[in-house]
């Protein structure tokens, strides 16, 4: 079986059997990540470019390792956002990479839909590594891999996502992905950061943090950025942590075997206490490891399409 599209732009249009395919393959890839010989030749002779218009360490490095562990040529192109307005257009940059023989372009961009624009205009496969507030499909896939490892499956699971839903591409991709696999997603956060109509995407908006985490199988926090203060969306990080931060008492409301997740980087003591981050139920560091495995699986599937 293969992926249906040449690109991975989001989880909105990915089918459940494709998600299963990626996660199953990632299980094998994880063995390579855990081994002392992190070198296979699955992508030998292939080239992968990470084209990042936004700062990122973990996602970019994760993709770079994923490509290199499988023997691909991996090149990073870092572009400052300011050059978008005055410099070369995204399409022209993409076409240039195409002509150089790039097989897969991994793009992160502040503009929602930028990967879609690129994918429509170039031959290479495009992977969305985060586009504005829209989607971050590989993060959701690694979250789902982590959940499946811990829970064995998705059917009937309750996943609570707490925080700045409005600006979160991670939340959107998880809502799509988890929903497709049969899990139920519950959201909570400040009302100013709850985007209108989000429930239409297939999730439930709760009226308290307790309602969201009650009997949850997974409790996921999201990063809150200080810029939200300037936009008058929240008054202070102190008030935020008091009403919207996750602590061990919330975990007591969840299922005994609940796991704690966060896409990182974490503001310790703001959206989540250190007690929770470093607890035994926390999968936050494991998520990072799984990220490489999931991205290896995805690169493999996209490169092997023809």
């Amino acid at each position: 079986m293969k992926l249906r599209s040449k690109d991975l732009l989001g989880l909105e249009h990915v089918e459940p059997d494709e998600i299963t395919l990626i996660l199953d393959l990632a299980r094998d890839m994880k063995k390579i990540v855990l081994s002392n010989m992190k070198r296979v030749n699955y992508l030998q002779g292939r080239s992968v470019v990470t084209l990042f218009y936004e700062n990122s360490t973990r996602t970019r490095v994760s993709f770079e390792f994923a490509a290199k562990y499988m023997g691909a040529h991996a090149v990073n192109v870092a572009v400052s956002t300011s050059s978008v307005a005055k410099g070369e257009s995204l399409i022209d940059t993409g076409r240039t990479l195409d002509m150089m023989g790039t097989d897969i372009v991994v793009i992160r961009h502040s503009q929602p839909g930028a990967p879609h624009l690129l994918a429509r205009n170039i031959q290479a496969s495009v992977i969305n590594a985060g586009d504005g507030m829209h989607e971050h499909p590989t993060q959701a896939l690694l979250d789902m891999f982590t959940i499946r490892e811990a829970k064995g499956g998705f059917e009937g699971l309750k996943v609570a996502i707490i925080g700045d839903i409005m600006h979160s591409r991670v939340a959107r991709s998880n809502i799509y992905g988890l929903g497709k696999m049969g899990a139920k997603v519950y959201l909570y956060g400040p009302s100013t950061l709850m985007p209108p109509g989000i429930e239409k995407m297939g999730c439930r908006v709760c009226s308290s943090i307790e309602e969201a985490v009650d009997c949850a199988d997974v409790v996921m926090g999201l990063r809150i950025q200080r810029e939200r203060l300037k936009k008058a969306l929240i008054p202070s990080t102190e008030e935020y942590s008091k009403f919207f931060g996750l602590d061990t008492n919330h975990l007591e409301l969840a299922r005994k075997d609940a796991i704690v997740m966060h896409p990182g980087p974490v503001n310790r003591g703001v959206e989540m206490t250190s007690m929770l981050i470093d607890s035994e139920q926390s999968k936050i560091t494991e998520q990072v490891r799984n990220g490489v495995a999931v991205r290896m699986a995805l690169l493999y599937l996209l490169a092997g399409r023809e």
């Binding site: 257009s89 399409i91 961009h109 929602p112 624009l117 504005g132 209108p196 989000i198 239409k200």
Partner: protein
């Protein structure tokens, strides 16, 4: 020069007459009646065609001077003619801005030389569209403007708008307001709602339009001076204008075809051809706009013809230019979406797309009667076709209506007794 139109169905805002002949002499309508005989230099067999007063567009962008790569006065007028428009009023957001009499003269002179339809410039409300100092409305009126507007750039300071309404009113100039509270819009790029949430795009709340419409109604009522609300797109705006009119406030309002045909869903897939300001709203808003057209709350249909180069649309959604071309789709869309389902009669459509906009702009157009300028459009109401942007005469092809099936095709457009467009 005599032109005879034979056996057409004459449709004006107040009557429909079958098998009617219209004789045009020296650019004016000389006779209307049955079986007009005699020699004409040219005869059009209008059997099976509707003959409407030439359409009048109170809101378009010709991009000339400054952005001739998108459109110019000649191509814009040809596009208008193909759409059945015989008189068009162009907005001042050119480069340089139409905010002084010399630019007004430039537009009028170039139109006289190159345009195939009547072109009426609209002057800026404020110098450079900056929203601060009043532009020289009196001198611009003497040079030929028919209205003032800072379209595309709302006059954010209420005190400036209040004085602009009073000053323009003193010259008998209509003020056309682009209603958008920029502060509430917060730089958004589509309607705020479930689609913007899904696409992760910054939204423009309908409240941004409503707040400004409320302000303009209050200022119009306070000053007793007319204000024309451009491109109404929200349920809230329709409702407030309806109530204001009941109180006798001298407000008039327009909407555009895209606000009675499309919703925010058209932006799905980051379709930049559906990016427009005000943004496409929800089904509820579309229904309110249609109801407003039906009950007369919305006086006219304008195109907001906004040509943009392909490269300005083939970019990231938030960076894409706002607007869509409209001349060549407005009439067929109105016929298909308003007349065919029985929302408006053909007579009401003739009013909203010709007679009434002429009245608002105070130009002597929109009539078919002896002595009137011979500006007319002949339409085959039964002809169905698929909208194909490659057939547009506009320099730009940015439309969300490509592939739409419509009914009603312009066959002839006549300006001052001259056939300026003929469908082959």
């Amino acid at each position: 020069m005599k032109l005879l139109i034979k056996n057409g169905t004459l449709i004006t805002r107040d009557r429909t007459e079958n098998n009617t002949d219209i004789l045009i002499e020296d650019g004016k309508i000389s006779r209307i009646g049955k079986n007009i005989s005699g020699k004409a230099d040219e005869t059009i067999n209008a059997e099976g065609l509707a003959v409407l007063p030439g359409l009048v567009d109170a809101h378009c962008h010709l991009r000339d001077p400054g952005y001739e790569y998108k459109e110019d006065i000649r191509t814009g007028s040809m596009s208008a003619a193909k759409g059945g428009f015989t008189s068009i009023a162009c907005m001042p957001n050119t480069n340089p801005v139409i905010d002084n009499e010399s630019i007004v003269r430039y537009v009028i002179d170039k139109a006289r030389r190159e345009a195939v339809v009547n072109v009426y410039p609209i002057g800026a409300i404020t110098k450079g569209l900056q929203g601060n100092e009043l532009a020289e409305m009196g001198r611009m009126k003497a040079a030929g403007i028919v209205a003032v507007s800072d379209d595309g750039r709302p006059v954010m300071q209420a005190s400036v708008m209040k004085k602009a309404i009073i000053y323009a009113g003193g010259f008998g100039l209509p003020v056309i307001s682009h209603c958008e509270d920029m502060d509430l819009a917060e730089g958004g790029s589509m309607n705020e709602g479930e689609t913007s949430t899904k696409l992760g795009l910054h939204g423009i709340p309908s409240a941004a339009e409503d707040v400004m419409v409320a302000r303009e109604i209050i200022l119009s009522e306070y000053t007793h001076m007319p204000v024309h609300i451009a491109h109404v797109s929200t349920r809230g705006a329709v409702e407030m204008i309806r109530q204001a009119k009941k109180r006798g406030v001298p407000v008039t309002a327009e909407t555009c075809p895209h606000y009675f045909t499309l919703t925010e869903n058209a932006c799905e897939g980051y379709n930049t051809n559906a990016k427009v300001n005000p943004p496409l709203r929800t089904q509820e808003d579309v229904e309110a706009v249609i109801e407003g057209l039906k009950d007369g709350t919305i006086d006219i249909i304008a195109t907001d013809h906004a040509p943009h180069h392909f490269d300005e649309k083939n970019v990231e959604f938030e960076l894409a230019a706002n607007g869509m071309v409209g001349f060549e789709t407005a009439l067929p869309l109105a016929l298909t979406y308003l007349v065919a389902p029985g929302i408006l009669t053909l007579n009401q459509l003739a009013d909203k797309m010709s007679s009434k906009p002429a009245e608002i702009l105070k130009i002597d157009k929109g009539h078919i009667r002896p002595g009137a300028d011979a500006d007319m459009v002949l339409v085959n109401l039964g002809e169905e076709y698929i909208i194909n942007p490659n057939e547009f005469l506009s320099k730009s092809k940015n439309t969300p209506f490509a592939g739409f099936k419509v009914k009603g095709r312009v066959k002839y457009t006549i300006v001052g007794g001259k056939i300026v467009y003929q469908d082959h």
